[in-house]
Point group: C2
Chain length 499, copies 2
C-alpha cells in the first residue's frame, strides 16, 4: 500500500465491514429469517446504512480524497482504480442534499409495498402517485449531477453501466428491433412445432434440489466458497470472493425454471468467486457493472446452458433423476423445449429471442418520462401499445403489464438496459471464445474449466478496475457490437425451428 493511501484504509475497512453486514442481513432476510423478524431487523439495517453513509460522506473523507487526487501519480494501479470509483460515488452522494436523500429513503421504504399491493389489486392508479414521486426525485437527483447539456437519462444510465448512453443504446436497440422483430414473427407462427408439455409434469422438489446442487457444481460453482438456498425470487449476493451465495425457486410443475435459474445465478457467482484476492473487500472488488454481470450469467445460462453440446453428457443424468417424466423425451426434444420461443407478457418468463423486446419497451418509456413531463396515468396505455407493436400481444391487465416489475418502485431507472446489454456481450464473447478454443468440444466433454479460466483471466479477476468496453477491446480488439447478438439469435433460432 502506498503511504498516502494509509489514511484512507480505515475508512474503507469500516465501509466494507458495514456493507458486508448489510449484505448478510439482506440475504438472511430473503432466505431464512422468520416471518416477524423484519419488523425489528429493519431498524438494525437502517442504523447500519446511516452509519455507512455518514462515515463516508463527510468533510474528513472529502479532504483525504482531494489530497489523493492531487498526488494521483504516486498511487499504485489498484489504488487509482479505487480512488476513481470513490470520487464517482462521492460526487453522486455529495450533490444530493441530505434532507432530500432522507425523504427519498423514506419514500423508497414504502414504495415497494405500495407497488406490491397495487400489483396484487391489479390497479395502476394505486401506484401512480408513488411512481410519480419516485420519478420526480430521480430526475431531481440526476439534475444535481448534470454537466452542461447532458441528458438526464444518460446520467442514470451510466450508474448501471459506464459505457451506456442514449445515443449508443438507440443505435443498439434499433438494430435489434429491425432484425429481430421479423424473426420473432416467423418463429411465432411456428410455435406449435415444439411440444414441451413434459416440462409441466410433476417434478419432486427434493430431487430438483439435488439436481440443482449437482448442476451448480457442474458449471463451476465452488461450494467451499458458496451457498445455494431457496428464496421467492432467484438472486446472487456476495460477502467477498470466498463467500458468494445464490438462490433459486423450485416449482413442482416447472422443471426448467429452477435449472436455468441455478445456471444463471451460478454465472453471476463464478464472476464474483474469480475476482482477485487483492481486490475483494475493496471498493473495486466486485463485478464491474450490471451489464457485464448479466453477460456472465447469460453466457452460462443461455450460450452454454441451452446448447445441445452442454446437455449431451448431462441429459442422461436428468433423465435418470426423473425417469417417469423424461424416459420418452429425447435429447433433441429437450433441447427444442428449452429453446422454444413464444411472445409472452412477463419479462422474467420470456425466452431468449423475445427477451430484448421487453427491455426495449421499458427503455423507450424510461427515456420518454425521464426527459419529458408526462401524464402518469397515460403510461399503462402506452405500455400496452408497445407490447402490441413489438410482440403482437396486449396485456389484459396492468398486473401482467406495467405493474409486473419491481424496479421502478425503487427508482432504478436505467437498470433494464443492462439486461439486454448482458445478452449482447454474452453473444460477442461467445464468437470470440469459439474462435480461440474448442468450445463445443469442451462442453461435450463436460469440461468447463478452460472456459471459466479464460473468463477469469480476461474479465473476472480485474473486478471494477476496467469497464465493459475496455474488457471487450482487450479481448477482441472491438467494443460492443450488436451484430454479434443479432447473428447469434438468427443462427440459433434458424436451427431450433429449421427456418
Amino acid at each position: 500500500m502506498s503511504k498516502l493511501f494509509e489514511e484512507l484504509q480505515p475508512i474503507l475497512d469500516k465501509d466494507m465491514a458495514l456493507n458486508t453486514a448489510l449484505t448478510l442481513l439482506d440475504w438472511d432476510n430473503k432466505t431464512l429469517a422468520p416471518e416477524k423478524s423484519i419488523e425489528y431487523t429493519a431498524k438494525v439495517m437502517g442504523i447500519l446504512s446511516d452509519e455507512a453513509f455518514r462515515s463516508f460522506v463527510n468533510p474528513e473523507v472529502r479532504a483525504i480524497l482531494a489530497k489523493l487526487e492531487e498526488h494521483k501519480e504516486e498511487l499504485e494501479d489498484n489504488e487509482k482504480a479505487i480512488l476513481k470509483k470513490l470520487l464517482k460515488d462521492y460526487e453522486k452522494m455529495e450533490k444530493i442534499p441530505p434532507e432530500e436523500n432522507r425523504e427519498f429513503s423514506e419514500l423508497e421504504a414504502v414504495a415497494g409495498g405500495i407497488w406490491a399491493k397495487a400489483k396484487n389489486n391489479d390497479n395502476f392508479a394505486e401506484f401512480a402517485p408513488t411512481l410519480e414521486k419516485v420519478i420526480h426525485f430521480q430526475k431531481k437527483f440526476a439534475g444535481y449531477r448534470k454537466k452542461g447539456d447532458e441528458k438526464i437519462y444518460d446520467i442514470v444510465l451510466s450508474d448501471y453501466e459506464e459505457c451506456f448512453n442514449t445515443e449508443m443504446l438507440d443505435a443498439f436497440f434499433n438494430k435489434v428491433k429491425e432484425e429481430i422483430v421479423p424473426l420473432i414473427k416467423e418463429v411465432s407462427a411456428r410455435r406449435d412445432q415444439i411440444d414441451k408439455s413434459y416440462n409441466a409434469l410433476s417434478y419432486d422438489v427434493k430431487k430438483q434440489e439435488e439436481f440443482g446442487k449437482y448442476i451448480a457444481e457442474y458449471v463451476g460453482f465452488d461450494f467451499k466458497k458458496g451457498v445455494l438456498a431457496a428464496s421467492e425470487h432467484p438472486f446472487t449476493t456476495n460477502l467477498h470472493n470466498h463467500d458468494v451465495r445464490i438462490t433459486t425457486h423450485y416449482y413442482e410443475n416447472d422443471l426448467e425454471s429452477s435449472i436455468f435459474s441455478v445456471i444463471h445465478e451460478a454465472g453471476h457467482a463464478i464472476y464474483e468467486m474469480q475476482v482477485a484476492d487483492e481486490l475483494t473487500q475493496t471498493p473495486v472488488g466486485a463485478g464491474t457493472s450490471m451489464g457485464m454481470h448479466e453477460s456472465q450469467s447469460r453466457f452460462f445460462e443461455n450460450v452454454i446452458g441451452r446448447s445441445e453440446e452442454f446437455w449431451t453428457p448431462l441429459y442422461p443424468k436428468l433423465q435418470e433423476t426423473f425417469k417417469e417424466q423424461l424416459a420418452d423425451i429425447s435429447l433433441e426434444q429437450f433441447i427444442a423445449g428449452i429453446n422454444k420461443s413464444v411472445p409472452s407478457l412477463i419479462r422474467t418468463e420470456a425466452d431468449e429471442l423475445t427477451y430484448t423486446l421487453h427491455i426495449i419497451i421499458r427503455y423507450e418509456m424510461e427515456k420518454m418520462f425521464m426527459e419529458n413531463e408526462i401524464d402518469i396515468m397515460k403510461l399503462p396505455e402506452l405500455w400496452n401499445q408497445k407490447y402490441e407493436e413489438y410482440l403482437g400481444i396486449t396485456p389484459p391487465s396492468d398486473k401482467d403489464g406495467i405493474l409486473q416489475d419491481v424496479h421502478w418502485s425503487l427508482g432504478a431507472f436505467g437498470y433494464f438496459p443492462s439486461y439486454a446489454l448482458g445478452s449482447a456481450v454474452a453473444a460477442q464473447i461467445y464468437y470470440h471464445i469459439k474462435s480461440i478454443m474448442p468450445f463445443e468440444e469442451y462442453l461435450k466433454e463436460g469440461n468447463l474449466a478452460p472456459i471459466r479460466e479464460y473468463l477469469k483471466e480476461h474479465i473476472h479477476r480485474f473486478g471494477m478496475t476496467k469497464n465493459t468496453n475496455e474488457f471487450l477491446m482487450e479481448m477482441m480488439g472491438e467494443e460492443l457490437n450488436a451484430d454479434y447478438y443479432v447473428r447469434y439469435l438468427k443462427e440459433k433460432y434458424t436451427k431450433v425451428y429449421g427456418l
Copy 2:
C-alpha cells in the same frame, strides 16, 4: 423516553445494530457459511467489534453516563436499569488498558484453535502455555476491577451471575456433594437395571429433523419468530425477541441427543421470545444472566422434557415416527431410558444426576487457580483425581479429561457454575409452579401455554431489569435455596430406580 436519555439513544442504537450484525455473522458462520468464508469474514467481524468498542468506550459516552447518574431520579424505570447495566459494562471495559485488551483479543483469536488442536492430539502440554497466558490475562483484568479485599474469582463469577460469589457457591456445592455423591453411588450400582440399547439403533436423520421441528413447536418455540437449524454443537442466539434461533445436531445412532438438545435450546429461545417488546433491542433486552437462562433451558429439558406426564401424549407420535425401532419399547421403558444415570467422563453428555459433579470439579479448579499461583502442568492430574473422587472414574486421557471443554480457552472462568445454578433454579421453580397450578395435568394434556405464560409474566418479560434472586424472591418469597434441587434429584431418582 425521558429528555435526558435522548442524548444516549443514538449511541445505544448504534451499539445494538453493530452487535446484532455480529450476532448474525456468528450464527451464519456456525450454521451456513461456506468452509473458506471465515478467512475474510473474520476481518469484517474484527472491524465491527472494534467499532462497537470504540463507539461505546470514549470520553463523550463517559460524560453522558456521568450526567445521567447524577440525575438518576428523573429517569424512567427501564432507563434506570439500562444505566445500571451500562455503568457496570463501562467500568469493566474502561479499567482494562486498550493495548492489553487488544493483546488479549489477539490471544483469544488463536487460543480456540490451539485448544482444539491440543484436544485433537490429546496433548495437554500443547495447550498449557496458552492456558497459562489466558489465566494470567483474566486475573490481571479482574485485578483492575478489584475493590478492597474482594476475591479475584468473585469478580469474574459476578460477570455471569450477579448473585454469585464463592461463599454462596461453596455452601451450595457442599450441600450438593454431601447429599448427591451418596445417591450417585447407589444409582450407579444399579445401572444395569435400565436397558436403553434402543437409543443407539439407526434413526433416519430426516425423520429426526421432522420430529425435532414438531417438538420445538410443541413446547412453544414460535417459528414465526424463530429458526431451527443444524450445527456442530447446539446453541441459541437471538437478534431480538422477534428473531431467536436455535440449533441442534442430529446423530444417526443417538435418538435422544437431538430431541433433548431441541427442547433445551427451545427453553432458552422461549425466554428470549418472551422478553417485552419495549426492552428488546435495548441493553437490558435479553435474559438476565447465564444462570437464569440455563434454568429456563433445563426447566424445559429436564423438569418438563424428561417427565412421564410430558411424554404421555407425545410418545405415541415418536413411536409412530420410528415404528421399527420403538414398537416394542413401552412409555415406561422410554422414560426410564431418558433418565438413566451413569457416571461418565464428558460433561456435555452427563445425565441430570451426575451433571453438577462435573461443574463442582471445574469450580474448585477455577477457584484454586484464579486465587493462587499454580503449576499449570499439574492441572490434568488434579482434574483426574477429582473425577475419581466424585464420580468414581478416571479419565484415560486429557482429551476426555481437562481438554474436553472450550470455555477455558476463551477465558470464560466463572461461567461453569451458572450451569449448576440453572439446574437448582429450575428445581426451585418446579416446586413453586406445582404448588400454584395443575402442572402435571397440563403436561398430560399437552397444554404448556399456562406454564409459558407464568414464566413470561414473572421472569421473561423483565429482561435484565431484575436479577435471579429478585425474581425468585418475588415469585416465592425466598432466594436461591439448594434444598429444592437436592429434593428434586432425590425424588426423581428414587422413583426412576425404585430405591
